[in-house]
């Protein structure tokens, strides 16, 4: 298994286009934020004008979610490429079991996605610490690493359903374009949930994306929130948290957000198992 994981990782990182497309969605949201959104939000939420770290970490949190999505999916492209080029057929002739093979692709994607999230985090944090003179938050790094791994599992589980169903690269990249375009909205990178109509809110809440952004924002913004609401009531802090989607409805603590994400992993795994019962037979064609 390690053998195949290593091979997948080498092939992924060898290919500059892979790395670029994994980061594309995040670069776009980052660019849009700096150019257009930052001022707009600062006018809306007065606290953020005084504490620039609030808004900066808010955008980092959303962007990490989009990075998790696009990098896990890009890493899983390898599985579809290998199916369409008979690589899977070739491996099926060896002693490696089909289960081990699938797990290898999953582990590779989780590793890729975790690394890309940590890279994005390091890059954006460094940028903001230079530009806005906010502190680089060394104290949350361990938490970020753990959450990045969790996030990677969520989107790899999701992506593996798609890549199990699709056997050719063109269909896959079409599918990915749609997901990458939607990722920024679903991760609530550009605007908060309450600005959307009810139906839109519902659709977004049925995906893991908003909870993941909330989770990251919870962790990344806790220091600045404490400072900003030092002299205010817990209620007014909670109102603000609702506004900026650190709370998603009733899912308003870090633990409950993690729990929701774990549930999504279970749901995706369950769907995958149902799907794979149907596709297993004719996978290796």
């Amino acid at each position: 298994m390690i053998n195949l994981v290593k091979r997948n990782l080498i092939l992924y990182f060898n290919n500059k286009a892979n790395v670029f497309f994994s980061l594309l969605a995040s670069l776009i949201s980052f660019g849009l934020f700096i150019l257009f959104i930052k001022n707009n939000l600062q006018n809306q939420w007065h606290a953020t004008a005084i504490y620039p770290g609030l808004l900066d970490n808010w955008i980092i949190g959303g962007t990490l979610t989009t990075t998790a999505i696009s990098s896990a999916l890009t890493a899983l492209t390898r599985y579809v490429i290998d199916k369409s080029n008979n690589v899977i057929a070739d491996i099926s002739l060896t002693d490696l079991s089909f289960k081990t093979l699938q797990i290898s692709y999953i582990v590779s994607a989780v590793i890729v996605s975790t690394i890309m999230q940590l890279f994005t985090f390091a890059f954006m944090s460094t940028y903001f610490s230079l530009v806005d003179k906010i502190d680089f938050q060394w104290n949350v790094i361990l938490m970020v690493i753990l959450m990045a791994i969790l996030a990677s599992f969520v989107w790899t589980a999701f992506g593996f359903i798609i890549t199990s169903l699709i056997n050719n690269q063109d269909a896959l990249s079409g599918c990915y374009s749609i997901i990458n375009t939607l990722a920024g909205f679903f991760a609530l990178v550009y605007f908060p949930l309450m600005t959307l109509p009810k139906l839109g809110q519902l659709v977004i809440k049925l995906t893991p994306a908003p909870y993941m952004s909330a989770m990251y924002r919870n962790i990344l913004m806790q220091n600045d929130l404490k400072n900003a609401f030092r002299n205010s009531t817990a209620h007014s802090m909670n109102v603000f948290k609702n506004q900026i989607n650190i709370n998603i409805g009733n899912v308003n603590s870090l633990n409950s957000q993690i729990l929701v994400l774990l549930t999504f992993i279970l749901i995706f795994t369950f769907i995958f198992l149902i799907v794979s019962l149907k596709t297993r037979k004719n996978l290796i064609h």
Partner: protein, 300 residues
């Protein structure tokens, strides 16, 4: 001794019989060709023989085992039509990644393969930087890592220039001897089948003929004698008198013979009247044309 047998092997995809009831019997140590135009069903057949795809009907057995048997894949090595190795990785990495996927791989054997088959000089090159012929060689060695008894190759020479094609062929034949392999390959190059022990000719999913090259030629092609005669000999009258069928092309009389003996006798009998002659054996081109009609341009 039969090493591989199929019975009524059939593949139906979308209600179409891509491969239609083929029966094969392959002896141990033979080099067997599946000859057919593109789309004839060769790759689909090979996928069923190797157990990569299951047949819709019919059976395939290697030494009594069906593809569902766990040991089936240990008996076979497969070279796919398009390479399955990673272009970005070195030859060595490619081979070792695959080798590690087998449980009881003989490391010494892998090293000896690399050495005996002359791969050391390109071992550290990236696969994508190799020539077409070199790539094929690496593909083949990948298929031999686990000491299979039968080697399957899907169009091993397609896409190569003539020189590399010849090299790969002598490489394949040398493997057969060195490692005591049975080899089953597909091709759409007619002339290549001349080197095989047995040929199955495939058309629209069916075997339309199968035999040794020699027997196929006897059955489906003629040897041609092209003659010119002395000026004062009336050849036309002679052929009519003796009821011999002939053709006249480019100032030459063409007569066909089923075997060499008859041709020699004819020349001996007529030696005083013959001015010059050319004798051409039937080729697989003639065999194929006779079997399939003038179906397509045979050569790419």
């Amino acid at each position: 001794m039969k090493i591989l047998e199929t019975q009524n092997l059939t593949k139906v995809i979308d209600h179409k019989k891509i491969v239609n009831g083929i029966n094969m019997q392959v002896d141990k140590g033979q080099l067997v060709s599946l000859l057919g135009l593109n789309g004839a069903g060769k790759s689909t057949t090979l996928k069923m023989l190797t157990g990569i795809n299951y047949s819709t009907f019919g059976t395939v057995k290697i030494m009594g085992m069906t593809p569902k048997n766990h040991n089936y894949s240990h008996q076979i090595g497969v070279v796919f039509q398009n390479s399955i190795l990673d272009k970005e990785l070195s030859v060595k990495n490619n081979l070792f990644i695959r080798a590690r996927m087998y449980k009881n791989i003989d490391k010494k054997y892998v090293d000896s393969l690399i050495e005996e088959l002359g791969l050391q000089s390109i071992l550290h090159q990236k696969y994508k930087n190799l020539s077409g012929g070199q790539r094929r060689k690496v593909d083949i060695i990948r298929a031999l890592l686990h000491k299979p008894k039968i080697l399957f190759l899907d169009e091993p020479s397609t896409g190569l220039d003539i020189q590399s094609r010849n090299k790969i062929w002598s490489f394949i034949k040398s493997l057969k001897q060195k490692y005591n392999l049975t080899i089953i390959l597909t091709t759409h190059y007619l002339e290549e089948t001349e080197q095989s022990d047995y040929v199955y000719i495939m058309d629209e999913g069916k075997f339309i003929a199968s035999d040794s090259v020699e027997n196929l030629k006897i059955k489906y092609s003629k040897h041609i004698l092209a003659l010119t005669f002395n000026i004062n000999f009336d050849a036309k009258q002679y052929f009519i008198d003796h009821d011999i069928k002939y053709a006249y092309e480019h100032n030459k009389y063409l007569i066909s013979f089923n075997n060499d003996k008859l041709a020699i006798n004819f020349i001996t009998d007529m030696q005083n009247d013959i001015d010059s002659f050319e004798y051409k054996h039937g080729t697989m081109d003639d065999v194929f044309l006779n079997l399939t009609g003038n179906k397509a341009n045979l050569h790419d």
